[in-house]
Amino acid sequence: MKQPRVAWLVLLGVLLALSLAALGICVGSAGFENLLQPLLNPALDPEQTAMAQQIVWEIRLPRTLGAWAAGALLGLAGAVAQGLFRNPLADPYLLGSASGAALGVALALAALGGAAGMLGGGNMMNSGVAVSVFSSSVWVRLGLTGAAFFGAVFAVLLTLVLSRGVGHTLRLLLAGVVVGVVLGALTQLVLLFSPDSLQAMQAFMLGSTAFVGWTSCVLMAGVWCLCVLAAWLLARVLDGLSLGDATAISLGLPVAPMRAALVAVLALATGTAVAQTGLIAFVGLAAPHLVRSIVKTTHGHLMLLSSLVGGVLLMAADTLARSLIAPQELPVGVLTAVLGGGYLLWLMHRGTARTGSPA
């Protein structure tokens, strides 16, 4: 069978994302409605157009694009993790990096928010910088992202130390699970002692794009560009590593520093996504598998495609989460867990049926 060209797949990913974005703009608290009509023909009904502009420009567009960016970051992180640890089960969740990022966010909130829940004090109208998970102030977003990044780095390093390197697959995954559980418990503990941020964090832990504004969106897009660029430059080492450490070294690749750089990319991508949208499961795991089931390619292409697929997946899930019980909302993390989990089971089943061993 001839493999489809990677360029065509990239194009397909972009087109899917664009059409989903158009759909996402039309889906909201009132279910599906065609808002493109009043947006494109302002003369028809000026009042309707003004409302549509506010809703689309300030709410739906940033959160739809934000969902894409978060999904793209998670897809990229998944592909990097799977290549880096030579393990098809590695993903930001199983390695504990997402839990580490969430712990970072919780710690930052508890430390900054404290009893008052505010920096700048006074009431909200006095333009004090409010520290909240859902704030859209640039500094708050950057600070939370930084905290999530360090949390993620810490978690990955802890996992690597506990598993004594990446050599042993089972040990790596077990270490990742242990780190994830322990850091998750620590997060709960931190929240228990800062009841002011508890309620907001609870919604956050389920994963939500409800409050993604332009600040978060631009931040994620910027980090995504950075991460994709870095991953592209580091892709050679992943290709080398897939043949084993010895081969990679014999190819003259600086394995150790490049590995460290990849861990940084993994942590940055995961941390940025988690800091803006909370814990969203399975996108990072499912995206690379989906790509590999369509095309066999180098790590550079795999990472790019996984990223595009992750973006499309989360965007679709977010649109579903908004529309299923509108005007109420499902937490998108719950939806991705159900859909992604189902997909993985199907993948495993199909692999078993065809080859007699899991894919």
Partner: protein, 291 residues
């Protein structure tokens, strides 16, 4: 003669006018005499017992029961959902009052304690629970106490000028965002104050909304607790909302928010807090742009 008969019955070991209560689980609980040692694991139940004048009989509370102030000195027995069973048993209470949703009831009963599960969720429930507790604690003037509370809510409503009627209000209980709908306890109070809730009853009492819904409904006034109010202004799309632009937002400090969200005897105070908010923010400012 009566005393003689009573003495005879006592001698025979038969209960004299035993106290009986059917709680919200439908369980019938019996006492020989009114309970003297009470443990309460739900703030609204603690407040009701105190309102009935039996505060001195409470020997332990959950960690959220913080009113009246005297309760804060009592042993804290964990949360309503995760109570510390050992501590409760050690206090030897005659009755444990708790929410129906707590899973500790069966465990405590198995340990020989008498448990009364009550779940006040609406104005009607508050009345029902109060009469039930009045009966249990043999409070002679429960009806009068209830009437005073009910009259307090009506008085708060009557204190409002007619211009407030029909003002569209959004009450946020939690930055999920979870809202208080028409069918919630808070929604009932708002309805009695004559204002309009932007969240209809069909969504359930506390629905998690798409934030866009609130922007579209464009409420005239927002009521929110201090704990959830951080970053309200910086939520995507909210700067354009009229209520925020014109600063028609009431941010209730934590103690006031407690009053507002607890279906208990302080519902008249809650109505007064909301009325005060409406009067300050919704009367003059709206008079201009309303036909």
């Amino acid at each position: 003669m009566k005393r003689l008969l009573g003495g005879l019955l006592l001698a025979l070991g038969l209960p004299v006018a035993a106290l009986q209560i059917t709680d919200d689980r439908g369980v019938l609980v019996t006492w020989a005499q009114p309970p003297q040692r009470i443990v309460s694991l739900l703030p609204s139940l603690s407040e009701t017992v105190c309102e009935l004048g039996r505060c001195q009989h409470i020997v332990g509370v959950d960690r959220y029961s913080n009113y009246p102030a005297s309760l804060r000195k009592l042993p804290q027995l964990g949360g309503g959902l995760d109570p510390n069973i050992e501590l409760i048993v050690a206090l030897k209470p005659d009755v444990v009052l708790m929410a129906k949703s707590s899973r500790a009831g069966d465990r405590l009963e198995a340990l020989g304690l008498k448990v009364v599960a009550l779940e006040p969720k609406s104005h009607k429930d508050v009345q029902r629970v109060m009469f039930k507790l009045g009966q249990l604690l043999e409070v002679p003037d429960t009806a009068r106490i209830w009437r005073a509370i009910d009259a307090g809510v009506s008085a708060a409503a009557q204190s409002l000028p007619a211009s407030v009627r029909g003002v569209k209000v959004y009450f946020e209980v939690n930055p999920g965002p979870y809202a208080a709908s028409e069918s919630s306890f808070i929604g009932e109070t708002l309805a009695r104050l004559g204002v309009q809730n932007i969240v209809p009853a069909r969504l359930g009492p506390f629905p998690k909304l798409n934030p866009e819904y609130i922007v579209r409904a464009n409420p005239d006034l927002i009521m929110i607790g201090q704990r959830s109010a951080d970053g309200l202004m910086s939520r995507p799309g909210w700067q354009g909302m009229r209520a925020l632009r014109e600063q028609r937002v009431c941010i209730f400090p934590a103690e006031e928010a407690d009053v507002l969200v607890r279906p208990g005897p302080r519902m008249a105070e809650a109505a007064r807090l909301m009325a005060r908010c409406l009067e300050a923010k919704a009367t003059r400012a709206l008079a201009g742009d309303r036909p």
